[in-house]
Every structure is written in C-alpha cells, then in structure tokens.
C-alpha cells in the first residue's frame, strides 16, 4: 500500500505549481482546511485559481482561510457564490482587490457551484439546472426547455488540487466527516486530481473504519496530514 501519510503540511503542498487550480471547502467556518491553506501561503505558489463557496474573510477578523491566499496576491481568480460580503461592513481582502479589478471572479449560484463540482467528480459532461433562469447570471448560457420548464446548461468544474478537512481517516485515505463539517468536502475530494487532507483525529490503520460509514473512499485521496495540537495546528 502506497504511503499517503505526510509528516508536515509544508511537505504535503510542496509541489503545487504556479497557475494551479484548487478547491477549498468550508461553510460557516466549519470543515475549512485552514492548515493546508496556511501551508500554501508559506509555500508561495501564485496565479492560482480558487474554487470555494466564498472568497474568504481574511482582512476582517478571521484567521486563515482562502482569503489569506487572496490577500497575499497568490490568487488570480475565484469561482464562488459570493463576490460581495453578506454585510457591507465586512470588507475582506478579496472585496478590496475585486473592486480595484486586481482579481478576477466567476459568480455562481451555490447549488450550481456544488453540482458543477459533483459533475467533475462523477464524469458528467454537463447538466441543466433551473437555478438562475431569468436572471443576469444566465445571460449567454445555453438554455433548453425540458418538459415545459426552462433550464441553463452548466459544465463541470475540475481542479488540480482539493484541500480537505476531515474528522477521521485511515491509512488508505478513507475519510469521515462530522455533522456540518461535511459540506463541500466529499465532492471536492472526489473532483480534484490530487487530494490533500488535514485530519482532526489520529489516522487509524486501514480496516479500522467501518466501510459502511466511509464518506470518501480512499482511492480518491493522495495525502494525509494529522493536525498537530495548537498552537502548531490551526483548530477552529
């Protein structure tokens, strides 16, 4: 069995090249791969494209998230469901750069974002969704009426790397998530070419996780790092 366990986050992200496309999950601060993002920040890869629910809150009072890479000028484009803050007072690094046209963005409905990721994970060529029909976001996209309802065509979102935060893992890379930590994690872990995981518990021997309780099969997982105790590891 190939060794997937890396000793440090710096080793696990060392090969990420300039121009790579990454996926980063997390919702409401839960299931967010903060340790991997911090390592990518130290590593310094640039011209990255990020796929994430939002572009991060760094620049406000939040610790490491996607916005940390944005603030450092490592990201050229974000594909996400928010390009403005939910409250005007939250002016993040992304919002500042976006308003100055120093970063590019593609704005999507959240369900379309999720399904485009799932489509990449599932080998689907494209799909039709009713979300955004009749709005500015559907302009220029192929439309089709199916059984009397209008849909827009959306394509898969592929990535070079997925950064994942898991609750438990075994040495083969089988993953489990806990409660709302799951969010975008499974679909991103399965969609990317190389999947790097930070794990909240000790990585157990293959065979110790119940196969019926595995959320992401280890075949999708390439690299595992156990999050060290604080202050070395970043916990929520």
């Amino acid at each position: 069995m190939k060794n997937k366990i890396y000793r440090t986050f710096d080793e696990a992200v060392a090969d990420i090249p300039d121009g790579a496309v990454f996926m980063s999950p997390g919702f409401g601060g839960v299931g967010l791969p903060r340790n991997i993002l911090a390592a990518v920040h130290r590593q310094g890869a640039r011209n990255l494209t990020g796929i994430s629910n939002n572009a991060g809150a760094a620049g406000t009072d939040v610790k490491v998230d996607v916005g940390t890479l944005v603030a450092a000028g490592q990201v050229k484009k974000m594909i996400c469901a928010f390009t403005a803050p939910t409250h005007p007072s939250q002016v993040s690094s992304f919002v500042r750069l976006y308003n100055e046209d120093k970063i590019d963005a593609e704005l999507l409905p959240q369900g379309t974002l999720a399904e485009r990721i799932r489509a990449a994970a599932a080998g689907i060529g494209a799909f039709y969704t009713p979300a955004s029909v009749g709005t500015e976001l559907a302009e220029g996209k192929e439309h089709r009426e199916i059984n009397g309802r209008m849909y827009v065509l959306e394509y898969p979102l592929h990535a070079d790397y997925a950064f994942i935060r898991a609750w438990k893992a075994d040495t083969f890379g089988n993953l489990q998530f806990r409660l709302a930590q799951r969010n975008f994690n499974p679909i991103m872990a399965m969609a990317a070419r190389i999947t790097i995981v930070e794990v909240e518990n000790d990585i157990v021997a293959a065979g110790e996780l119940d196969p019926d309780q595995v959320h992401v099969p280890g075949v999708y997982v390439d690299r595992l790092v156990r999050i060290p105790p604080a202050p070395d590891g970043i916990w929520d």
Binding site: F27, G28, A114, E115, L179
Partner: protein, 224 residues
C-alpha cells in the same frame, strides 16, 4: 409629524411563520428570516433545512453547549434534534432543486408585483452575494419574503418592477413588511393585513405598485 410605530422584525417573522404547516420542510435565509424559528407552535412539527446539508436542526446552541461541527446557513451554532440527518453540499441542493422544500423565507431589497424579487446585488457595487438564493427561489414550493416596507431614506421597496438585478422571476407568494402582509397574485399585491394604526391609504402612499385591498382586510394577527 412623528413617524407612527411599525412592526418589529420578530413580529414580521412570527406572522410568516404562522403560515407554516405541520410537517413542512423549511429553509430560512440568513439575517431576519432566521427569526421565524423563534415562533414555536406546539401543534406543528417543522423540519429546518440548511444549505450546508443539515436537515432537521434545532434552536441556537446555548453558550457553553456549542458543538463546533454544527452550524446553520448563517454560520450560527445550532443544536441537533432527533431525526436530524446530514448530507454533502451537492445533495443538499439536489433536495432543493427537486422541490422538497415547502417554503423558503428570504430577505430582499425589492419585491415586484409580478413576483420578481432582488436580494443579491446592490447598486454601485461590483459583485454580489448569491449564496443559495437563486437555487432556493427557483425551486422551493413557496417563496416568502420579509423586508422593511421602505428604504432608510423612505423609498418604497414594493415596486411595479425591480430596478435591481433579480434573484428569480415571478416566484414570490407572500410578503411581510413592517406595515403589512401582502399576497402576490396575477393581479399584483393584495394587502391582507395591516400594522396597527396604519390605514390602507397610508400604506399605498409608501408603495410604488397599486395595492388591491382584501375584502376581509384586518389588523395583523399573531396567533392562529
């Protein structure tokens, strides 16, 4: 002339929540709509769905009783209720697109008499915050909107047509403001209930679309 009192946000959301029926699957938008879950009717059992895939969450967690892995769509820590289930984000929106939600309650900047509403982009700002709003609005069985009747500088938010980019066309069924409860019909807004002390004429004055007045117009009810 001093401004007459208007409804509090909690009262507005109580009124919408009264419309929820036993067994409904409900999605509450971030901000004001989350107040709907404070209205508890012991005779109704509701299932609260959150975009992050939590199906069947309970009230906000008390300080000190927070489970760091359990949040709602606003990132607030909530509690588990018996029967709760968790799916990933794509399955959560699959549930939405299938039409499983009986109602979604959202805030808005504007609502139009043709059922359009706008809640993701404000003028003179690049970008927007869509989140799950377009998926929810296009696919839930019912869209309810809660918003202040006028902007901070007194301009109407209930309009003939939205000026801002819309979230979905023709989907809004029921609107509560701090002045009234409105049904959206093929003929436009119908005023069903009014805030205490406000006449239909005064409400019409602050509305940019023509209001039809329900035959059984009454003051706001807060209990069935």
């Amino acid at each position: 002339m001093p401004e007459k009192p208007r409804l509090e946000r909690q009262a507005m959301c109580d009124r919408l929540a009264m419309e929820f029926q036993d067994g409904w699957i409900v999605n509450l938008g971030v901000g004001m709509p989350t107040l709907c879950s404070n209205y508890v009717d012991p005779n109704k059992s509701l299932v609260y769905h959150s975009e992050n895939g939590v199906i069947g969450y309970g009230p906000l967690a008390a300080p000190g009783a927070v489970d760091r892995h359990l949040v709602n769509a606003g990132g607030q820590h909530v509690t588990a209720v018996p029967g709760m289930a968790v799916v990933h984000h794509a399955d959560s929106f699959a549930l939405i697109r299938k039409g499983m939600l009986d109602v979604t309650v959202m805030g808005a900047y504007e609502v139009a008499e043709n059922g359009d509403f706008a809640n993701w982009r404000i003028p003179n700002r690049k970008g927007g915050g869509i989140g799950g709003a377009m998926d929810l609005a296009a696919c839930a069985q019912r869209v309810f909107i809660a918003l202040e009747h006028t902007t901070r500088d007194g301009k109407p938010r209930l309009l003939k047509r939205c000026a801002l980019p819309i979230t979905a066309p023709g989907v809004v069924k029921l609107v509560v403001t701090d002045l009234g409860l409105f049904e959206v019909t093929p003929q436009g807004f119908t005023l069903l209930e009014h805030a205490p002390g406000w006449t239909p004429e005064e409400i019409q004055e602050l509305t940019a679309a023509r209001l039809r007045i329900a035959g059984d117009l009454r003051e706001f009810r807060f209990r069935d």
